[in-house]
Subunit: 277 residues, 2 copies
C-alpha cells in the first residue's frame, strides 16, 4: 500500500495498520477463536488447556482478548510478567510448553487497576495487539474472547476474516443455552465456521464418595448442539483440582494428565487438529 | 430545563433525556448495582434472590443491564414475555412477588438473536431503559450489570450518580479475585459506595454423602474483603438445586426457603436493608 510519509493522515495510518496486521497474521497458519455466550463458563480454562495440547503439533500463541478481565496469565503462572518492546515489535510472554501469550494483564500496573474503556479504545487495543506484536511464525493462534457479542469479539472477527473457526464454550444449564445460541448466531452472521461446542463443568465426581453430582444440570450441550446443528466436540467433567491448578498457574492437562477432564480435553484437541488440516 | 421545541437540536434532546431519567429515578428510593469482575459467578442469581427477599420490605424493580447476555427473565420464569408501551412509558414485566423487570430479553425476537452492538448503541439503550420505562414508585431498584468494567457499567454509574451502593459478587477461586479487585477499584473511582462482597458457589455439600467439596477453592471472598477493606456480606454455598430452579424459572429462595443457601441470602438481605435505612 502507500509509502510512509513524514506527516500521515488518519486514513493512511489506518491503512498501514491494516497492512501490518495482514503481514503479521499471514505468518500464522491457523487462527481459532474461543467464545461463549455467558461468562464464567471456563473459556480461559479451555483456551489454556487446548493450547497445551496443540503445542504437541507445532508452535502455539494465545491472544487474551478479554481486556477488562484477563485471566490467561494467572492460569499459566505468568502473573507479574511484562511484555517488552523488541526490534521487530512487542514480544509476547513465553509460557509453559513455549506457548506465547499476549494479554492486557501484562500491561497493567497491578491487579487492582481496572480497564475502564469504552468501545473505540478497545478496538484500538485489539488492533495494536494484532499488528504490533512480533507474533512470528506460529502453527496456531488461539484468541480468548470476552463473554458476549460486544466490541472485542466484533473487532477480532472483523480484523481476522481468515479465522479458521470458533469454538463455543458452555455449561450444561438451560440458562446458559439461551445465551450460547446467540454466540452461535453471532459467529454465523460474521461468516466464521463454527467448529463446535465444548461443554464444560459437565457433572462432578464427588471426591469423597465417587457419586456423580450434576452441579449445573445436565445435557444442555447436547441439546443446543442438536437444536443449532453444531457438533458437540466434547464434555469436560468438573474437578475441584481444576480450580486449584488454575490458581497455582499450572495447566490442568499437564498436572493431571490421567484425569477424566484431561482425557476429554485430548479428544477435543484431536478433533480440532483434524478440522484445520 | 428547556421547553420542548418543534425542531430539537441533539444537545437539547440529550438534556431532555437526562431530565426524564432524573424524574423517573427520583421516584425510586434506593438504587443498588450488582457487579462482578468475572462473568458466570452468579450475579443474576444473586440479583433475583435479593429482589425476592427485598420485596418483603417494599416494591422492588430489576433492571437487567446485561444487554448481550440477559439472564434475569429466564430465572424468574418470564421468558417469552414482551414489554408493552403504555400512556406513561414502557411498562416493565411483572414477575414473582410483584417484582417489576426490564430486560433486553423482552425486546428480542427469539433466543438465538444476538445483540451485536458497539458501545455508543449500548449507552443509548441504557438511557432509554432508565428514562422511558414507567418505573413508578419503588423502594428498591436492583441493576444487574454485565461482567467487567465496560460500557454498560460505565454508563449506568454515570447516569445514576445517586446510586446507594454496589454489591460485588465473586466466587472463592484466586483467579476470580484478581478480577474482583478491578471491580472494587472501578466502583471507588466512580465514587459509588461499595456495600460489600457476596461470595457465591462457596463450597458444596455432596447430596449423596454429605461431605463438603470446595469446587472453586475456598476463602477467596474473605481474602479479598481483607485486602481491599470491603465487608464480606455473606457466603452462599453451592447447591445443584440452584441450577434446576434457575432453569425452571423459580427463584431458589422461594422454592427452597430452608436450604443453607437461602439462609445465607436472607442474612445478606438484612444487612442491605440496614445499610440503606
Amino acid at each position: 500500500m502507500s509509502e510512509a510519509h513524514e506527516v500521515k493522515n488518519p486514513w493512511e495510518q489506518k491503512d498501514q495498520q491494516m497492512e501490518q496486521i495482514k503481514n503479521r497474521m499471514n505468518k500464522i497458519q491457523h487462527k481459532i477463536a474461543i467464545i461463549s455466550g455467558k461468562g464464567g463458563v471456563g473459556k480461559s480454562l479451555v483456551t489454556v488447556n487446548l493450547a497445551m495440547g496443540l503445542a504437541d503439533n507445532g508452535r502455539v500463541a494465545i491472544l487474551d482478548a478479554d481486556l477488562t478481565g484477563p485471566c490467561v496469565p494467572k492460569m499459566l503462572g505468568l502473573k507479574g510478567t511484562k511484555m517488552r518492546a523488541g526490534p521487530t515489535g512487542i514480544a509476547p510472554v513465553v509460557g509453559p510448553k513455549g506457548v506465547e501469550v499476549v494479554s492486557m494483564d501484562f500491561l497493567l500496573p497491578n491487579d487492582e487497576a481496572p480497564v475502564i474503556w469504552r468501545g473505540p479504545l478497545k478496538m484500538g487495543a485489539i488492533r495494536q495487539f494484532l499488528g504490533e506484536v512480533a507474533w512470528g511464525e506460529q502453527e496456531f493462534l488461539l484468541v480468548d474472547l470476552p463473554p458476549g457479542t460486544g466490541d472485542e469479539s466484533l473487532s477480532i472477527l472483523q480484523l481476522l476474516p481468515e479465522m479458521d473457526g470458533v469454538i463455543i464454550v458452555t455449561i450444561p444449564s438451560e440458562v446458559s443455552q439461551a445465551v450460547v445460541k446467540k454466540a452461535i448466531t453471532f459467529a454465523r452472521k460474521m461468516n466464521v465456521p463454527v467448529f463446535g461446542i465444548v461443554e464444560n463443568m459437565s457433572g462432578m465426581i464427588c471426591p469423597h464418595c465417587g457419586e456423580t453430582i450434576n452441579v449445573f444440570s445436565e445435557g444442555g450441550g447436547a441439546k443446543v448442539s442438536e437444536e443449532m446443528n453444531v457438533e458437540l466436540l466434547g464434555s469436560i467433567p468438573m474437578d475441584p483440582k481444576v480450580s486449584v491448578d488454575s490458581d497455582a498457574g499450572v495447566p490442568f492437562i499437564l498436572n493431571n494428565p490421567d484425569s477424566p477432564a484431561s482425557k476429554a480435553f485430548r479428544e477435543i484437541i484431536e478433533k480440532i487438529v483434524k478440522k484445520v488440516k
